[in-house]
């Protein structure tokens, strides 16, 4: 799906573009599972003491030899950068991408470029022990280039929330911070369990997760975002195998989702946007637009990183507010509707 040449396709000849984009839209690119062999041609890192290596198998099945101990890490994805901070390993992070913006301190790290096309020179100059990549964002080309330079790269590939949590633990192990990894994972799992207790029995709310409105783009059922929605007590009305399906507005109008979910850390933009949508006759057919039933959650939901659990909790609270209210000792809520001040989510 994230082929290197994606952005090179947006070229002069408007004719080529739709044709090639059609191929991409209908046939996701497959990351070759057996792509590269272990990076055995490792150069000697420094003159005197012999380097010890550890062989691990990353989440795409590649065998990687990582020098031990790991003291210099480069991250090529914002989700990986967040995980490193969550593991407490930020002092070993020597470089990250231009888009690594969470936590804010990450922005002060040495930048190596974009996730799709990082600068190999800068990476090499940083002399990392390992470069962290992830299948859903980085490209095979980058991995091959790093191999050619003799720089080991470790790839993660979490497909759902459980795998995101497991991936963080595994990363902790690989980077020599097993205890931190275990602690993080336990905490995340605990929060997910608490969430399941609170809302697991409630009927899920039917939602539409809106990535883009013109044209209308949502998420596929096999994405980690869809899984995150399920954990939050919601179900995406879009049942598509594509990762980012362009959705027919008619279909949505027919299915009538209860709530429209947006990922936007700055809620004002979305509020403006929703006012705009409400003026369009076609969108007004949606009850959710007319009644202003939308939920705006943190953009963390878009990243397969530990913070996604926070976004899940946020969404769960908005969709099932009654499960989060501290029940006063004797009273119970009757069947009144509860309006959350931040988001108008009426049941």
């Amino acid at each position: 799906m994230h082929h290197t040449k994606r952005f090179g396709l947006i070229n002069i000849a408007g004719m080529l573009l739709p044709l090639l984009q059609a191929v991409i839209a209908t046939a996701p690119v497959i990351w070759a599972q057996t792509a590269s062999t272990a990076s055995t041609t490792s150069s000697v890192q420094n003159g005197a003491p012999a380097q010890t290596f550890r062989e691990v198998v990353d989440e795409t099945g590649r065998t990687v030899r990582i020098p031990q101990p790991v003291t210099r890490i480069v991250s090529l994805a914002p989700s990986l950068t967040e995980t490193i901070y969550a593991l407490g390993l930020q002092d070993r992070l020597v470089g990250d991408t231009d888009y690594c913006d969470y936590p804010p301190e990450a922005q002060k790290k040495q930048k190596v470029g974009g996730a799709i096309n990082p600068s190999l020179e800068v990476i090499a100059h940083l002399r990392p022990d390992v470069v962290l990549v992830t299948r859903h964002l980085n490209t095979l080309d980058t991995v091959h280039s790093l191999d050619a330079l003799g720089i080991p790269s470790y790839a993660t590939d979490p497909r759902n929330v459980d795998e995101i949590v497991a991936s963080a633990k595994r990363l902790g192990d690989v980077l020599g911070a097993s205890e931190a990894g275990a602690a993080l994972t336990e905490e995340l799992q605990r929060r997910l369990d608490v969430l399941r207790q609170k809302i697991g029995a409630l009927p899920p709310r039917r939602v539409l997760f809106v990535v883009w409105t013109d044209p209308l783009i949502s998420i596929g059922k096999d994405t980690f975002i869809a899984d995150a929605l399920r954990r939050a007590g919601a179900v995406s009305i879009i049942d598509s195998k594509q990762d980012w399906p362009q959705v027919n507005l008619e279909e949505v109008a027919h299915l009538q989702p209860e709530v429209l979910v947006f990922a936007d850390s700055h809620g004002e933009t979305t509020a403006q946007h929703l006012d705009v949508l409400a003026t369009r006759p076609a969108w007004r057919i949606l009850n959710a637009v007319r009644d202003r039933n939308f939920a705006v959650i943190s953009e963390a939901v878009n990243r397969p990183a530990p913070r996604i659990v926070t976004a899940i909790e946020e969404l769960a609270e908005k969709l099932h507010p009654e499960a989060f209210v501290e029940k006063p000792a004797a009273d119970k809520l009757s069947g009144n509707t509860v309006l959350d001040a931040k988001c108008l989510c009426a049941r």
């Binding site: 952005f7 004719m15 883009w212 705009v276």
Partner: protein
């Protein structure tokens, strides 16, 4: 000797209009939601005759507010692109010309992207904010038209070769800027823009925009049609046309501006839908001949039919998702182009 008569032209257009009507009916029926056309027709008549309020039924709303506007938009875009393509092919004396060759679509795309980037920072009324993207696209198209015009002049008049060169260069330059802007965004911002650029009829528009589009089409296509006889002569050669009384500078200017405006309007609302402006004129030429008095109206119908069919297929082939109409026209257009090419050479 069978010269063109107004009766023959009318019959040919009527036939195509009939085909378009059938296609529209099929498109109205096809889609994610089941529609009973009979019931819909009955409701429509009731609404029109009694000036009643909106149609109550579930499917009725969907059809009237989502599907029908989309089909109408498809007709507009298809007709505009086909007429613009015919005009450019005559103007540039080049059968490979399409409406995008002079860079107008890239200018529109850049305008749309800039509007998208700017709009969160402006405090606007919602209805106005919604118009910002098509407006930005149209302004971008207009600026490009003007720039290419000035680049494309020689000794004060439009010259076909210079125009083509100027247009191609401007187009590449704008494409480079677009690429730069898009690689400096991230995440979902990028993806949305890419889908839009691919060519999409699913943008739902404010009602006022539809009126502007149709007015623009009438003006633009009408202007080009007044030069139809001149364009016929132009195909024999520019010098010959001049000696036969064609006011070449005026014809060039009218066709250039009208065809570019039609393209700009179409791209402003639907992105770059490819192959329609290139191939529909060729197909119509095979069937109806090169006389522009016939070619222009039949190309308009042909373009409308092609786009509505492509969009309908895109809507029904991978439910609940849909394939952008630009992808469908490319998938169908490329093999058709090869076929036509081989026929010419055979």
């Amino acid at each position: 000797m069978r010269p063109l008569t107004i009766q023959r032209l009318f019959l040919q257009c009527a036939a195509l209009a009939g085909i378009l009507f059938v296609v529209v009916i099929i498109a109205l029926k096809a889609g994610a939601v089941e529609v009973s056309l009979f019931a819909l027709g009955r409701d429509l008549i009731r609404v029109i005759v009694h000036h009643g309020s909106e149609i109550k039924s579930d499917y009725g709303l969907i059809v009237m507010n989502i599907r029908l506007p989309r089909i109408l938009l498809g007709i507009f875009v298809g007709a505009s692109l086909a007429v613009a393509g015919t005009g450019f092919q005559a103007l540039l004396r080049n059968p490979l010309a399409d409406p995008y060759v002079l860079g107008v679509s890239n200018g529109a795309a850049l305008g749309a992207i800039l509007a998208l980037l700017v709009s969160p920072h402006l405090a606007l009324l919602p209805a106005v904010a919604d118009l910002l993207t098509p407006l930005g696209a149209f302004l971008g198209a207009t600026a490009t038209i003007a720039a290419v015009y000035f680049l494309g002049r020689r000794e004060g008049q439009i010259d076909s070769t210079t125009l083509l060169l100027g247009g191609v260069i401007t187009g590449s330059f704008l494409a480079a800027i677009i690429m730069f802007l898009m690689t400096s965004e991230s995440g979902s911002n990028l993806r949305g823009m890419a889908y839009w650029l691919m060519g999409n009829l699913s943008t739902s528009l404010q009602p006022s925009v539809y009126w502007i589009l149709w007015l623009g089409f009438l003006l633009g296509a009408g202007a080009i049609y007044t030069t139809a006889s001149d364009l016929n002569l132009l195909l024999s050669g520019e010098k010959e046309a001049m000696h036969l009384g064609v006011d070449l500078p005026r014809v060039r200017l009218v066709v250039y501006i009208a065809a570019s405006l039609l393209t700009g309007l179409a791209v402003s609302v639907s992105g770059s839908i490819g192959y329609v402006g290139l191939l529909v004129p060729h197909v119509m030429r095979q069937i109806f001949g090169s006389d522009h008095r016939v070619l222009l109206p039949t190309a308009a119908f042909g373009g409308a039919i092609a786009v509505v069919i492509a969009d309908t297929i895109g809507r029904i082939v991978v439910p609940p998702a849909e394939l952008p109409v630009g992808a469908m026209t490319a998938l169908a257009g490329a093999p058709l182009f090869i076929y036509l090419l081989r026929r010419r050479m055979a």
